[in-house]
C-alpha cells in the first residue's frame, strides 16, 4: 500500500524515546479525522477509504506504543528487515530465560499470588533496563548486532509478561 513512515504520520522524529501521552493525544486527533464514523453517511468509496486509513493509523499507533514493536520497526527502517525467527546466539540471555521460566512454573505449582506480584515488578525493572540500553545504541551502525540482540530480549520479556497474565488468570478461581 506504500504506507508512509509511522513516525512521520505522527510527525515525530524516528526515535526510541517516545512520549506515550503525547503519542496518544496525536493518535486521538488523527483518529477523529479518519474514523469510519465520520463517514457513515458518505459514499461507499469514502467509507472504504476511511476504513483503510483508520486501520493503518491503528496499526501505526500499536507499533509505536509497544516498546519491542517500536524497536523492531526502528531497526527495519534502514531497509534491513529483521528476520522474525532466527537461532539467536545469546548464551547469557538464554540462561536467564530458563531461570525466569522455571520461576514462573514454581509460582504456578505453589499458586503463589504474592510471588507473582514480586515477579511482575522484577520483570518491569528488567524491561526498563533493556529499553534504556536499546535507546542508547539502536542508531549506531557499529552496534547494530547488539541492538538486534536487545530487541530480541525485549520481545522475549514481552511474551513472558503475557504468560504472567495468563498465569494470573489461571490462579484467579
Amino acid at each position: 500500500m506504500g504506507t508512509p513512515c509511522h513516525f512521520a504520520l505522527f510527525e515525530l522524529k524516528p526515535s526510541f524515546r517516545v512520549d506515550l501521552d503525547q503519542l496518544a493525544t496525536r493518535y486521538r486527533e488523527l483518529a477523529r479525522g479518519v474514523h469510519p464514523d465520520r463517514f457513515a453517511d458518505a459514499s461507499e468509496r469514502e467509507q472504504r477509504l476511511a476504513l483503510e486509513h483508520s486501520a493503518s493509523l491503528n496499526d501505526a499507533y500499536q507499533t509505536l506504543k509497544n516498546a519491542p514493536k517500536r524497536a523492531r520497526y526502528l531497526l527495519a527502517m534502514g531497509g534491513n528487515e529483521v528476520a522474525l525467527e532466527v537461532t539467536v546466539h545469546d548464551p547469557e540471555f538464554l540462561l536467564q530465560q530458563m531461570q525466569w521460566r522455571e520461576e514462573l512454573e514454581d509460582l504456578q505449582d505453589e499458586a503463589d499470588l504474592a510471588g507473582v506480584e514480586v515477579f511482575k515488578r522484577r520483570l518491569k525493572v528488567a524491561q526498563e533496563e533493556l529499553n534504556e540500553s536499546f535507546a542508547a545504541c539502536w542508531d549506531d551502525a557499529a552496534q547494530r548486532e547488539q541492538a538486534e540482540r536487545l530487541m530480541r530480549r525485549m520481545q522475549f520479556l514481552d511474551k513472558l509478561s503475557y504468560e504472567v497474565r495468563q498465569l494470573e488468570e489461571r490462579l484467579d478461581d
Binding site: 464514523d37 459514499s43 499507533y61
Partner: protein, 620 residues
C-alpha cells in the same frame, strides 16, 4: 459541546434538515428505541405510553404479536411464542442444545446450520424473530418522529462474536432498517453517562442483562471514548437467576424434573416475579399450585453466587487486559435490569472499591447512548465536536494451522478497524489448493474455538513445498465484522470472502425471507424498490453536495468540478421521474466521478489534523 437548542418539545428547530435516526437496544428480555429530541436523548413510548417492549414474539396463523401480550401468552402457547431469542442468534443447533432443556421450542433444521423454530407460520429463524421485534420498534419510531428513518444504531453485547453480530445485522436488514453502526452495549452506556457528566478518566461498565454479561474498561478523554479492554459471557444473565429459582422450586416442591413446556414457562414467570420482589423485600412468599414456601434474599444470593463470581472473574481479567490496576478505575457504571439485584451491586462495589453509578435507568441507558451516536452518524452534528468511539474486538481471530491448532492473527482487545496479514506456505510438492479455516476464540485447539468460515484458495501454481507464499488478510470494520482475503503472492491468484458465519443464514434463506417480508407488507414491491433507489440517490446527492460546499473550491479544478456538477444535474433530473434502474445507474456514475475527490478529501483531513496540532505547538 453542542449549543443548547431552544425549541418546544417535539418541535425541531430545523424541521427540514434534521435527519431522523434512532438507537435500538435489542435485548434478551426487553427492547427499546430512543431518539434525540430537542437535543435530549430519550426512549420513545408506544401509544399506551410504554417505553419497554418485551422481546417476545407470538406467531398466529394470520398475524404476528409482539411485546407484553405475547409474553403473557408464553405459558399458554409455548410452541408459537418465542422469548429470549437473542440467546439463539448466531448459534448452531448443537450450541442451542447446550443451553439446556429449558427451551420449549420444536427446532427444525434449515438450509443453513441455524436452528429454526417450528411455529404455526412455519419455521422461523432467530434472525426473523428478531426482525419482527425490530419492525415494531421501527414503526413506533417513525410514528413518534413523523418521518422515514435515515438509519439506526443497533446495540450488541460487546462479547458477541462475528456470527452473532452478522445475525443481528441481517435481522435489521430484514426489518428494513439501514444499519448506521453496530455499537457495543457497554460503549453505548458510557456515551450516555460520559456526556451527561462530562467525565474524564478510566471507567468500568458492568452490564448484566437478561441473557448476556459484558464488562468494558474505557478511557474517556475530551470526547474520545477509547475502549481499553472488554470481556464477558454471552450466556450469563438475569434469565439464569430465574432458572436458579425455578430449579429450587422444582426440588423443594418435589416436581418431576421432566416438565412440559407450559409448566416450565409458568415456573419461570413465578421465579422472575420472586426475583424482582427481592430487590426491595428481604424475603418473599413463593407459591406454585398448592405448594408454597418463603425465599429469603440470603438464600437467593447463595443461589446466584457462582454466576456472580463468574462475572467478577471476567472483570478482573478485563482490568488486567487493559494494562491497569483495579484502583485506577475511577467510576463504575451499572447497566442492565439484572444490576437491580442488591447482591450484584454490593459485589461489584466491593471489587472496585467504590459505589457503582445507577443514576440513569439501567434498562434505558444503552438505548439512550445509542441514540446519541445515531444522531452523530446520521450527520446531524458537524461542529468538529462529535464524539469519537474507539472500540475493540472482544475475541481473538485466527486461522487453523497444522495439527488442529489455532494461530492468532488479531489478538482480542485490538482497536477496530484493523487489517492484518499473515503469510503461510504449502506443505506438499505441487500443492494447488489451500483450505483457509477462520476461527474466533482464545484457546489453542481449534475444537475449543468457534469456527467462523472455511474457504479454499485454488489455482496455486505447482511449486515445491514451502515455495509458495500465501498471504491471508483479515479486515475487521467498525461494526466488528470480519472479512478475509487470501492471495498467492507469486501468481497473484486471489480468493476472498465476506465471512459468512457457519451458523448464519445462507443467501438463499435471506432472499426467501426478504421476498416473504415484501409479500407481507401490503405495499407494492416495485414501488418499494424504487423508493430504495431514490433514497440511495438522495443520500449520495446530499453527501456530494455537502462535500462540495466544504472542500470543492480547495480540492477540485474547474474541469473536475464541471463533470461532477453535470452528473449531479443529470441525477436530479432523473429523480423527478420514476425510472428506478436509470436512477440506480446514474447514482453509480456519480459515485464513480466523485471517487478521486473523496480520496483527496480524506487525505486532507489527515493533513488538517496534523496542521491543527502544529498551531497548538507554536502556541506553547
Amino acid at each position: 459541546m453542542a449549543l443548547l437548542q431552544i425549541a418546544e418539545p417535539g418541535q425541531s428547530p430545523q424541521p427540514h434538515q434534521r435527519r431522523l435516526a434512532v438507537g435500538i437496544d435489542l435485548g434478551t428480555t426487553n427492547s427499546l428505541v430512543a431518539a434525540l429530541r430537542s437535543g435530549l436523548s430519550e426512549p420513545l413510548a408506544d401509544a399506551a405510553g410504554h417505553v419497554i417492549l418485551p422481546s417476545a414474539v407470538r406467531y398466529h396463523a394470520d398475524r404476528i404479536e409482539v411485546g407484553q401480550s405475547a409474553k403473557a401468552a408464553a405459558a399458554s402457547d409455548p410452541f408459537n411464542t418465542v422469548l429470549s431469542v437473542k440467546r439463539l442468534m448466531g448459534r448452531g443447533l448443537s450450541d442451542v442444545k447446550q443451553l439446556g432443556e429449558q427451551l420449549p421450542y420444536r427446532f427444525v433444521g434449515g438450509e443453513s446450520h441455524m436452528p429454526f423454530i417450528d411455529t404455526v407460520q412455519g419455521p422461523k429463524s432467530p434472525v426473523e424473530v428478531s426482525a419482527d421485534i425490530l419492525k415494531v420498534l421501527r414503526q413506533r419510531a417513525e410514528e413518534a418522529l413523523g418521518g422515514e428513518l435515515v438509519g439506526a444504531v443497533i446495540t450488541v453485547p460487546a462479547y458477541f462474536d462475528d456470527a452473532q453480530r452478522q445475525a443481528t445485522k441481517d435481522a435489521a436488514r430484514l426489518a428494513g432498517l439501514n444499519v448506521l453502526r453496530l455499537l457495543n452495549e457497554p460503549t453505548a452506556a458510557a456515551v450516555a453517562y460520559g456526556l451527561d457528566q462530562n467525565a474524564e478518566g478510566v471507567v468500568a461498565i458492568y452490564d448484566l442483562g437478561g441473557g448476556t454479561f459484558d464488562i468494558s474498561i474505557l478511557r474517556l478523554t475530551g470526547g474520545v471514548f477509547e475502549v481499553l479492554a472488554t470481556g464477558g459471557d454471552t450466556a450469563l444473565g438475569g434469565d439464569d437467576f430465574d432458572h436458579a429459582i425455578a430449579s429450587w422450586i422444582v426440588s423443594e416442591a418435589g416436581l418431576s424434573a421432566d416438565l412440559d413446556p407450559s409448566v416450565q414457562r409458568s415456573l419461570l414467570q413465578v421465579a422472575c416475579a420472586a426475583k424482582e420482589a427481592l430487590t426491595d423485600a428481604e424475603s418473599v412468599e413463593v407459591a406454585y399450585g398448592d405448594w408454597r414456601a418463603t425465599l429469603t434474599r440470603q438464600a437467593f444470593d447463595a443461589q446466584i453466587e457462582s454466576m456472580l463470581a463468574r462475572s467478577l472473574k471476567a472483570c478482573r481479567r478485563a482490568v488486567r487486559d487493559a494494562g491497569i490496576e483495579l484502583e485506577e478505575v475511577e467510576a463504575v457504571v451499572m447497566v442492565g435490569g439484572s444490576t437491580r439485584v442488591p447482591r450484584v451491586r454490593d459485589a461489584v462495589g466491593e471489587l472496585f472499591g467504590r459505589t457503582p453509578l445507577t443514576e440513569i435507568d439501567p434498562d434505558q441507558v444503552v438505548a439512550i447512548g445509542a441514540a446519541i451516536q445515531a444522531d452523530t452518524l446520521a450527520g446531524n452534528k458537524r461542529d468538529g465536536e462529535e464524539l469519537l468511539l474507539l472500540d475493540v474486538i472482544p475475541l481473538s481471530l485466527g486461522l487453523e494451522t497444522m495439527g488442529g491448532l489455532m494461530e492468532k492473527v488479531i489478538p482480542r482487545n485490538t482497536t477496530i478497524p484493523v487489517a492484518r496479514a499473515q503469510d503461510f506456505t504449502t506443505y506438499k510438492d505441487g500443492q494447488s489448493a489451500m483450505m483457509i479455516h477462520v476461527l474466533q476464540g482464545e484457546r489453542e485447539l481449534i475444537s475449543d474455538c468457534r469456527s467462523l468460515a472455511r474457504f479454499e484458495l485454488r489455482g496455486i501454481p505447482a511449486m515445491v513445498a514451502g515455495a509458495a507464499k500465501i498471504r491471508v488478510t483479515f479486515q475487521v470494520d467498525a461494526d466488528g465484522l470480519l472479512s478475509v482475503a487470501a492471495r498467492e503472492l507469486a501468481s497473484g491468484i486471489e480468493s476472498s470472502i465476506q465471512v459468512k458465519p457457519s451458523y448464519g443464514l445462507t443467501d438463499g434463506e435471506i432472499a426467501r425471507m426478504l421476498k416473504d417480508s415484501f409479500q407481507y407488507a401490503s405495499d407494492d414491491k416495485v414501488a418499494r424498490v424504487l423508493r430504495e433507489q431514490q433514497v440511495d440517490a438522495e443520500r449520495l446527492l446530499e453527501a456530494v453536495q455537502g462535500a462540495l460546499e466544504a472542500d470543492g473550491e480547495r480540492l477540485l479544478d474547474a474541469d473536475e468540478r464541471m463533470v461532477i456538477d453535470l452528473q449531479m444535474q443529470e441525477l436530479r433530473e432523473l429523480m423527478k421521474g420514476t425510472d428506478g434502474p436509470a436512477i440506480e445507474q446514474q447514482t453509480k456514475r456519480l459515485s464513480q466521478v466523485t471517487d478521486a475527490f473523496a480520496a483527496r478529501r480524506l487525505d486532507s483531513t489527515v493533513k488538517a489534523a496534523l496542521a491543527g496540532r502544529n498551531l497548538n505547538e507554536i502556541d506553547e
